[in-house]
């Protein structure tokens, strides 16, 4: 009953596409099954397993990455749509001089327990801080036309797309607050 491994390899050119994708500063030229999500391309093709699969349906935030600088859920993005675009994952947050401030703040504030949602939290926080710097409002912003203020309720609302079953939420808020300084 064992099947030959060559049987039925997904080789039909119609069902796959070539995609050039820059991930953490490295350009990759990939031929991908059109069905491959960005998350699966990162994890299974590029070996970048930092981005996590918690629900695979955009409901938990563990797979959050930065796409052209904006936070997105990589489990709901088909990699084939990303030709020519730029992705940063948790593996790309640290710079040559060491951890990014948000990473260091997560360690210092114990803003995690099991660590599985952490890469998504970090990328989400990074993207969220950029949104705040552009004065984007949130659901809890009192005055829609005023400059954004990063209060604790604002952090909590803006980080609510990232579930944490260990519930490190208060420590995540503290870490984001520190990294924003």
């Amino acid at each position: 009953m064992r099947s030959g491994r060559q049987r039925g390899k997904p080789a039909d050119g119609d069902w796959s596409s070539r995609v050039t994708l820059t991930v953490n500063g490295v350009e990759h030229d990939l031929t991908l099954d059109n069905r491959t999500t960005l998350l699966d391309a990162l994890r299974e093709r590029l070996g970048l397993t930092g981005s996590k699969k918690g629900c695979d349906h955009g409901q938990c935030g563990s797979c959050t990455t930065l796409l052209d600088g904006r936070r997105v859920k990589s489990c709901l993005i088909l990699a084939v749509t990303l030709d020519g675009r730029t992705v940063v994952t948790v593996e790309g947050l640290a710079g040559p001089e060491g951890l990014a401030p948000i990473q260091a703040a997560f360690i210092a504030h114990d803003a995690y327990q099991c660590g599985y949602c952490t890469p998504g939290q970090l990328c989400s926080a990074q993207g969220m801080l950029d949104e705040v710097s552009r004065d984007w409002p949130s659901a809890v912003t009192e005055d829609l036309t005023a400059p954004a203020q990063l209060t604790d309720p604002e952090i909590r609302e803006r980080m609510s797309g990232n579930l944490c079953r260990c519930a490190a939420y208060p420590n995540i808020v503290a870490a984001v607050r520190e990294a924003a300084r």
Partner: protein, 698 residues
């Protein structure tokens, strides 16, 4: 000498976790890897009459479809929930009955959708009720308690009491939902099985696999380096590790198999729904004379798991006349299993709610009521507690929270469009330990390595054990390496039952003590070139420890707001004070307490498995519809602990902190909801639809 115990320390693996370098079960590189995708049964009870794998096998990239007809054989009698792909019987909807193996995840998913399965179905029963004809008394309840206890004459005591509370509380099915789904990478090499698996303790998983596959233990290795949470549901071998091992054997290549989020709602366990009747009889001052807790829960038709919900009432508060009972019914449902403080958690919700009702009935402050019913002697075992600081927790919490001037009148505090109320509840959790083995090795360069198959599922165990080891060796931490998370290490029990740190530190301390003796006794008192190693087991010592009631305690104080227009409930503030023996690492301990408390909030306000009786499964089987608390749901949450020295525990003096934070916390929330609104909701979760039309007039 203690230099590291009690000192805050960041996690040893912190850098790995924030850079994405920490690898979880299906993230280890594997050559020639394949992907497994489990196929769930779509009927509730019956028999598979035919499986047609052809449409799935026609999918490009699909290698095989494993099912009962041709999967490798397992040894029967090990554990019915793990006897997978062996028989055509279907015991519940969602039972995993086939596995598609493919070259890619995409092909595996599509193949799994296309496996055609025909069934003969039978009528099913999936709903727990207090009148179910199948109710019976189990021989024991988890993990080994007697199902029923009685002392004094409850019926007479209750009848004679001046104040009586008689209330029935209901909790729904709760689903553990760790962020990392249950997942395994399995490979076979020369008759040996190597798995990377997401579990709470790989020694028992190793044993289970060895028995199921008819192998010596040494032929199975289970590596569990990082685990994305478990909350009890990974406390034993679960379906993915068996399915992946079967599939890897079948296709002769490594297999990665992760359950989908939807597939976690059942096959890996859940907290059973409960129906709990609590009766309290007291005098007008609130002194309890009679207490009875009758708990009903469900199990499956293939395995008896009996949630010990009424056990909490046996030892928590005083009362001359006492009775507890557990009844169980076998339903055509997945087997319930451990979820953070099984038994104590739902049981404390019921008892701590009834205590609030009693406080109201007596007109006694609910903090004072609990203090009045404190007891130095365990009413269940008749022995004094090794230590019991419940009253101190209540007093410290009341002080920190600002409880003193609380007006007990319900439904009268308004802050704009919000009704505001506060609530309190107590908590306990047994402090136990399991046997473990450990080795400690000294190298001539002055460094040490401590090895034990402990598991860090996010608790901070790796860091805490390293601190314990450094203290036990009396050397700075930077000279000590701790190795955990591999069944090739000295065997140890699971991270569960709040026993991890107590059990593992015990073995580590003994190994380190032995090593220091060996070094002292070696020629010149130095470590020879080949190093020195001491291996110990605590089995005898733990067996010899006299039985005694040993518990951790806690108290919660909660403030909630309820929107008068919508009934929406928001947690303003939650404060917990705990007495849990020595705290090894304040940093990670605080996270444990806060995590438990938040899960209690989530239990009180958000979570509920919604069963559809016609189908026999939970309709809301994903994270969009099964709500767990988000960051925005937790406003201000604080955890404190009291210094507590208890010499009758274990060498490290710890009680365990993984579950004490959830026990009773839901009741503190719902008691606050009652104080805010005057509405007593006795079926969880409390959501806006249960309040909306009963709120005080706007």
């Amino acid at each position: 000498m203690s230099t590291m115990m009690g000192v805050a320390h960041t996690r040893l693996e912190g850098r790995e976790k924030v850079t994405g370098a920490a690898r979880y079960a299906v993230e280890f590189p594997a050559d020639d890897v394949t992907y497994g995708w489990a196929v769930p049964a779509s009927v509730t009870r019956g028999r598979i009459t035919r499986i047609d794998p052809a449409p799935a096998l026609a999918v490009p990239g699909v290698l095989d479809v494993l099912h009962h007809g041709h999967a490798p054989r397992l040894v029967p009698g090990v554990d019915a929930t793990l006897f997978l792909l062996q028989e055509p019987a279907v015991h519940y909807r969602g039972e995993l009955i086939a596995v598609v193996v493919a070259e890619t995840l995409e092909a595996a998913r599509e193949g799994a959708r296309l496996v055609r399965i025909d069934y003969d179905t039978e009528p099913h029963s999936t709903v727990l009720t207090e009148h179910h004809p199948g109710l019976y008394r189990p021989d024991k309840v988890n993990p080994g308690y007697p199902p029923d206890t009685a002392d004094g004459d409850f019926d007479a005591g209750f009848a004679a009491a001046q104040i009586r509370v008689d209330a029935t509380y209901r909790t729904p099915a709760y689903h553990n939902n760790p962020m990392e789904p249950h997942a395994t990478t399995a490979r076979w090499q020369d008759g040996r099985l190597l798995v990377h698996d997401s579990n709470q303790g790989s020694s028992p998983v190793q044993s289970a696999l060895a028995e199921l596959f008819g192998l010596p233990r040494e032929a199975v290795r289970v590596v569990t380096e990082h685990v994305g949470g478990g909350f009890g549901s990974k406390g034993y071998a679960k379906a993915p590790v068996v399915l992946a091992a079967l599939a890897a054997r079948q296709v002769g290549r490594p297999v990665r198999l992760a359950l989908t989020r939807q597939q976690l709602f059942g096959p890996i366990g859940y907290r059973t729904p409960t129906i709990q009747r609590v009766r309290l009889g007291a005098d007008p001052d609130g002194r309890i004379s009679a207490v009875c807790h009758d708990a009903i829960s469900q199990t499956s038709t293939i395995y008896e798991f009996a949630e010990q919900s009424a056990v909490y009432a046996r030892s928590m508060y005083a009362g001359r006349h006492r009775r507890t009972t557990h009844r169980l019914v076998r339903l055509d449902v997945p087997t319930p299993f451990w979820m953070r403080a099984p038994g104590e958690c739902p049981g404390a919700y019921a008892l701590e709610s009834a205590m609030d009702e009693l406080a109201t009935a007596c007109g006694v402050d609910p903090v004072e009521l609990r203090i009045r019913n404190d007891t130095a002697v365990d009413p269940d075992q008749g022995q004094p507690f090794s230590s019991r600081d419940l009253v101190a927790c209540l007093r410290e919490g009341a002080h920190r929270f600002g409880w003193a001037d609380r007006d007990p009148t319900p439904g009268v505090r308004r802050d704009g469009r919000w009704l505001v109320g506060t609530g309190v509840a107590g908590s306990n959790y047994p402090a136990r330990a399991r046997a473990a083995a450990a080795t400690a090795t000294a190298a001539p360069d002055g460094t040490f390595e401590v090895r034990i198959n402990a598991t860090d599922i996010g608790t901070g165990a790796r860091t805490a054990l390293w601190q314990v080891a450094a203290d036990a060796l009396a050397v700075p931490g930077d000279r000590v390496t701790i190795r955990i998370g591999d069944s090739a290490l000295p065997p140890a029990g699971v991270a569960g039952g709040s026993m991890g740190t107590a059990s593992w530190s015990w073995a580590i301390i003994r190994a380190c003590e032995g090593l220091r003796d060996r070094i002292r006794n070696s020629p010149g008192g130095t470590v020879p070139a080949e190093g020195l190693t001491v291996e110990v087991s605590t089995a005898d010592e733990i067996r010899a420890q006299p039985p005694r009631p040993r518990y951790a305690y806690g108290a919660y104080f909660v403030e909630v707001r309820i929107d008068v227009d919508t009934g929406e409930i928001r947690l303003d503030r939650m404060l917990g004070v705990f007495a849990a023996g020595r705290i090894v690492n304040p940093t990670t301990a605080r996270s444990q307490f806060i995590g438990g408390m938040t899960m209690g909030v989530s239990m009180a306000l958000h979570e509920e498995g919604l069963l559809d009786e016609r189908y026999g499964d939970w309709v809301n089987h994903d994270l969009a519809t099964y709500h767990i608390s988000t960051c925005a749901d937790v406003d201000r949450i604080e955890a404190y602990w009291l210094p507590e020295e208890d010499a009758d525990l274990n060498p490290a003096g710890v009680k365990g902190i993984g579950e004490i934070g959830i026990v009773g916390s839901a009741a503190a929330v719902t008691n606050a909801v009652h104080h805010a609104t005057g509405i007593r909701i006795r079926d969880l979760p409390v959501r806006l639809d249960k309040l909306l039309e009963r709120l005080p007039a706007r």
